[in-house]
């Protein structure tokens, strides 16, 4: 029966309750999606491999390292494999066709990154073709590329041909899916050697060298030891290096784009405030216009705590209904957003952690926003309330 009263009071103001429920739903959906994006974004850090290191110039990520460094690094005690990563900066078509491409060493890359799982084509076919490339499933879907298709790219970093605007052409030999969410599915990997040979033959211009080397260390070896050893190798130049664990490298790389998780969570915080005010407003209004009803109930013998709890429950109920709708909405939104965000937030998903976080926030705020009107209701004096004209 108190539930009957609760529900009746809620549907007694259908428009107001509906608006409140909808605002809670929209807010919670936004909160979940933002949280999922923030989590997805940092997945590259959170899920980075423990046994991989990255070597870059001590000056900056944009200063290339000499090619001669690789064999020296390879000889350091504890280094199992190395591979190159060269940023290509290519663009497909005139507009909107931007995605990441890296020149790599096919063999070591395959063994170092087991989370890159080919779902079409194979590493073998990739290795067998100088202009071959491996692309993410997301890219394949986005541009409709299939095995055997040619992908023409132009890049200001490595101008090609007399005009400098001739396209580089890559042939799709593999399509991968990320077996763990630390990798996105929007990247192209091609043979570094194809780039190097083109530069050496004068077919294209551009800086020699490599942006970064990645190292896989032997199991049981301490990463710090290897890092110190590699850094020590080039202490006297020509180009000093900095070696970091993959997680740290990813973190720094992400932070170059600004603190996106913080930004997203700040927006989420603002959204939470919106829930808070929407429900607080509704419940304050509800409590105020029901002053006489609540006074009557108290006169009948209902205690202050009961009356206060009733209003808190009502606000929790509004939140609950809004939350259920919000979760449905979040899944809908996530489905629409996934292709757009998974490139830079590879772990993007409305999973249990996201839902739990969203629901906990909503419940806490439902409680807080119900508290003010609840306390007010608890303090109502029946003699006063009954004197108010209904």
């Amino acid at each position: 029966m108190p539930w009957t009263l609760l529900f009746r009071n809620m549907i007694g103001h259908p428009v107001r309750s509906t608006l409140t429920v909808l605002s809670v739903a929209v807010a919670l959906a936004l909160l979940c999606v933002l949280d999922a994006t923030a989590r997805g974004y940092t997945a590259a850090v959170d899920l980075a491999a423990q046994n991989r290191l990255v070597v870059m110039s001590q000056v900056s990520l944009f200063v290339p390292l000499p090619l001669s460094y690789q064999s020296k690094i390879q000889q350091v005690e504890g280094v199992k494999t190395t591979t190159k990563f060269q940023w290509f900066g290519g663009e497909f078509g005139d507009r909107g066709g931007f995605f990441a491409q890296f020149g790599i060493d096919a063999e070591s890359f395959e063994s170092m990154y087991p989370e890159i799982g080919l779902v079409e084509g194979s590493f073998e076919e990739f290795r067998g073709e100088r202009t071959g490339c491996v692309i993410g499933k997301g890219l394949a879907d986005q541009f409709g590329w299939a095995i055997g298709d040619s992908v023409p790219l132009t890049t200001p970093l490595f101008p090609r041909g007399k005009s400098g605007e001739e396209a580089w052409t890559f042939v799709v030999r593999g399509i991968y899916k990320a077996l763990r969410p630390n990798f996105d599915e929007q990247t192209m990997f091609f043979h570094f050697d194809y780039l190097r040979e083109s530069l050496e033959a004068g077919a294209a211009l551009g800086p020699p060298g490599v942006g970064t080397y990645a190292i896989e260390i032997d199991s049981g070896v301490r990463a710090e030891t290897v890092m110190t050893a590699v850094d020590g190798l080039f202490e006297n130049g020509p180009q000093r290096v900095r070696t970091t664990p993959e997680a740290e490298f990813n973190r720094q790389f992400l932070s170059m784009m600004g603190n996106i998780p913080l930004l997203l969570r700040s927006i989420g915080g603002a959204v939470l405030f919106a829930i808070f005010f929407a429900v607080l407003n509704t419940m304050l209004m509800a409590g105020r216009e029901r002053t006489r009803d609540l006074g009557i109930m108290k006169a009948l013998g209902f205690k202050n705590g009961y009356i206060g709890a009733m209003l808190v429950m009502e606000s929790m109920l509004l939140i609950l209904i809004g939350s259920v709708l919000g979760i449905a909405l979040a899944h809908l939104l996530a489905g629409i957003m996934k292709p757009f965000v998974s490139g830079w937030a590879p772990g993007f998903a409305i999973d249990g952690a996201v839902l739990l976080n969203g629901l906990a926030m909503a419940a806490a705020l439902g409680l807080i926003s119900g508290l003010a009107p609840g306390l007010r209701a608890a303090k109502i004096l029946p003699v006063r309330a009954l004197r108010e004209d209904a």
Binding site: T4, R8, M297, A299, F302, K303, N304, A390
Partner: protein, 235 residues
């Protein structure tokens, strides 16, 4: 076991804007159990205040308020709430019913505080509605009832828990003659057949004739008690 009401030297003041208003001024009053009292007096003479004290809705500043042997001043706010739910039924001035609940649900409301099953609550509420002649309207919302019917539902709610004391503040104030008579007859029956002690505030001398005795209140003091039964005795 009719419940008597005793007030000894009861004073109640309100302060408003620095001024102190003595609403009840050392009032002495004895009401017998099982008697129907009308309470009359000019507006502002303290009738509602008196009813609130007797009903345990408020504490007096000094003096003694005793209802059926219970000293209401000795009870805390929370104890008073429990006491009210067991001992008194109220019919308030003006709107009485919760607009979102049906007539039966309104009557069931005070029964939520009693250790009853859902079914028992329902039955008891329906019995109370039957007593006021509105069982056929139990599914109606207050706005679907006439003013007189609303007051009768309020009476049903007041007696649903079977309290021995019934307090009513101008229950017929907004009603036409015919509806008022129906309400008054019910109050009289509750007094005569169920031996409830009834205290009813009214402005209407004709309504007062339904009561056994009329208490006159004037500026917080007792103005006299007249016995209606000695006159014609027609009621």
């Amino acid at each position: 076991m009719a419940v008597a009401i005793t007030l000894r030297s009861v004073t109640k003041t309100y302060s408003r804007g620095g001024e102190t208003l003595r609403v009840l001024d050392e009032l002495d009053l004895d009401m017998d159990g099982g008697t129907f009292y009308a309470l009359m007096g000019p507006s502002g003479s303290g009738k509602t205040t008196l009813l609130n004290l007797v009903g345990g809705l408020d504490h007096c500043d000094s003096g003694l308020v005793q209802v059926g042997g219970d000293d209401l001043n000795s009870l805390s706010a929370s104890e008073l709430a429990a006491w009210r739910s067991a001992n008194v039924g109220f019919v308030f001035q003006g709107f009485n019913l919760l607009p979102v609940l049906s007539a039966r649900e309104n009557v069931e409301l005070p029964l939520l505080l009693a250790p009853l099953s859902r079914k028992q609550r329902r039955e008891q509420a329906e019995r109370a509605l039957e007593l006021v002649g509105l069982k056929d309207r139990m599914k109606h919302k207050p706005r679907e009832l006439s003013g007189g019917q609303e007051q009768r539902v309020a009476i049903a709610r007041a007696i649903a828990t079977d309290p021995q004391v019934l307090l009513a503040d101008e229950p017929t104030g907004d009603l036409d003659r015919e509806s008022a008579d129906a309400v008054l007859q019910i109050m009289q029956r509750l007094n005569r057949e169920l031996n409830k002690t009834v205290l009813m505030v009214t402005h209407d001398p004709q309504a007062a004739t339904y009561a056994d005795q009329t208490i006159h209140l004037d500026k917080g003091k007792l103005g006299g008690i007249e016995d209606n039964r000695t006159e014609a005795g027609a009621n």
